[in-house]
C-alpha cells in the first residue's frame, strides 16, 4: 500500500453549473478510479444528468475542473476537446443512432472520421463490438428496423468502438419497454466484468445493488451521500436519501 495513489480515470473538482439564475450543480467533487462502476441516483432535477453531460462538455460547466486520466477537459481548444471526447464514451437515454446510416456505419463513422482508422480496421472493430453487444447479425440493418433495446446496444457499441477510457450512461434504459431493459443491463454488466470504468445515471436500483462499486446520491445539485451499495441502500444516513429510497421502493411496489 506504499505505492503512490493511482491517477483517477475521471476526476471532477469543484464543478459548478448555473443556468441563468438557477444553480444546477454546486461544488461537485467526484473521483472515479480505473475499472470502477459509479452509480448515480437521485430525484429528477437533482442535477445528475447535467453532471454527466458536463463530463464531456455537452453541457458547459460554469466553473470547476474535469480531468480524464489527468488531462483537462476544460480550457482546451475545440480540436483538443474533440480528441478528449474520444476518451469519454456516452450513451443517451434517447439512443440517437443516425437514422440514415446502417448499424455498421453508425459504429464506424467516428472511427473513420475522428480516429482516422482505415476502413477495414474500423469495420473489423465495429463487428467485434457489435458481437460483444450481441448484434453482429444486425450489422447491415437500418436503425429504424431495430427495437429500442437493440438500438441502445448499438449505441453502446458505437461508443465502445472508440476505445474510451470511461463510459457515461445517461438513463440508458429509461426510454425502453420493460421487457427490453434486461438485454441492455446485461451488456453493461459484461462491460463491467471486462474492467470498463463507468458512470451510470439510472433508476435501476436492482442493478445498482448488484453491479455498482459505489453509489452516489445527488439532490438539489449537490452530492448528499456516497458509499457502497450496501451502505447506501442498507444504511442510509441522511434524511433526504431515506425519503428518496422509500419513494422509489414505493413506486416499484
Amino acid at each position: 500500500m506504499s505505492a503512490p495513489q493511482p491517477l483517477p480515470t475521471l476526476e471532477i473538482t469543484a464543478l459548478e453549473k448555473r443556468f441563468g439564475d438557477t444553480q444546477v450543480l454546486r461544488s461537485i467533487d467526484l473521483k472515479v478510479a480505473n475499472g470502477e462502476l459509479v452509480f448515480v441516483i437521485g430525484p429528477s432535477g437533482s442535477g445528475k444528468s447535467t453532471m454527466l453531460r458536463c463530463c464531456n462538455r455537452l453541457e458547459e460547466p460554469t466553473s470547476g475542473a474535469i480531468h480524464v486520466n489527468g488531462k483537462p477537459m476544460l480550457g482546451i481548444t475545440r480540436r483538443d476537446l474533440d480528441r478528449m471526447r474520444l476518451q469519454v464514451g456516452m450513451v443517451f437515454q434517447g439512443f440517437f443512432l443516425y437514422p440514415h446510416l446502417s448499424v455498421l456505419k453508425n459504429v464506424t463513422l467516428a472511427q473513420r472520421k475522428a480516429l482516422k482508422r482505415p476502413a477495414a480496421e474500423a469495420d473489423a472493430r465495429a463487428l467485434e463490438m457489435l458481437d460483444k453487444v450481441g448484434l453482429k447479425h444486425k450489422a447491415s440493418a437500418m436503425p429504424g428496423e431495430l427495437s429500442g433495446g437493440q438500438q441502445q446496444r448499438v449505441a453502446i457499441a458505437r461508443a465502445l468502438a472508440l476505445d474510451p477510457k470511461v463510459m457515461l450512461f445517461d438513463e440508458p434504459t429509461s426510454a425502453l419497454d420493460p421487457e427490453l431493459v434486461g438485454s441492455v443491463l446485461k451488456v453493461m454488466r459484461d462491460l463491467r466484468e471486462g474492467g470498463m470504468t463507468m458512470i451510470v445515471v439510472s433508476h435501476e436500483m436492482q442493478f445498482a445493488r448488484e453491479a455498482a462499486d459505489r453509489v452516489v446520491f445527488m439532490d438539489g445539485g449537490v452530492i448528499v451521500e456516497q458509499g457502497t451499495p450496501s451502505e447506501i441502500f442498507g444504511n442510509p444516513r441522511s434524511e433526504r436519501l431515506r425519503a428518496f429510497l422509500s419513494r422509489v421502493s414505493g413506486e416499484a411496489a
Binding site: 474520444l86 446510416l101 475522428a114 449505441a155
Partner: protein
Amino acid sequence: MDFGNVFLNPDIIATYMPQMIRAVWVTIWISVLVVISGLALGAFLAGLRAYQKRWLAWPIVLFADLMRALPPLVLMLILFFGLPSLGVILSDWFVLYLVLTLVLAAFVEEIFWATLTSLPRGQWEAGAATGLSFNQVLVNVIFPQAVRTNIPQLVNRSLTISKMTAYGSVIGVKEIVSVAGSAQAFSGSATPLTMAAIAYLIIFFPAMLLSRYVENRFQYDH
C-alpha cells in the same frame, strides 16, 4: 381554317426542327448548371448559417429573403440592363444562369435550414460525444438527413426554377421560347409555339412523374 395546319404545320416543323433541338439543349444545359450550383450554394449557405455567428447569419437571411421575395425577371432585367452602366457586361446566358442559381440557392438554404434546426438535438450531441468535430457532424450526420427528408421539396423547387429558363427569352438567350418566338414571327405561323410547348412537355413531363414517384417513395421515411 384548319386547326392542325395552324398549330402543327409539318413543313414549318421540318424547317425549324434543327433550331428547336439546339434550343432544347441550351435549356437543358442551363437548367442542369442551375440545379447543380443552386443546390450546392444553398446547402453551403445553410451550413454556414449553422455556425450561429450573427455576422454570418444576418447576410444569409437577407439574401434568402430578397431572392425569394423578388420576381426573378426583375432581377434579370436589373443585372442585364443595369450592370453595363457600371462597366460590367455579363452575357445573356450568364445573367439567366446567375439569377436562377441565386434564387434556387435561396430556397434551398431555407429548406435545409428548417431541417437543420428541427433535427433532434441528440443527433448533434451523439456526434459530438463520439469526438466528431462540428464540421464532421454537419457533413456526415446532419446534412444527409436533411437531404433525405427534403428530397421531394428539393426536386420540386429545382423543376420550378428550371422552367424559369424560359425567362431567358426576355434578354435574348437562345433557349426554347426565344427561338420559338422569332420563328413564329418569321414564319407567320403558330406552329413554332406549339413546338416549344411540346419540347417542354418532353423535358418536364417525365420530370413531373419522377417527382411524384420521389414524393411517394420518401413520404413515410424519417
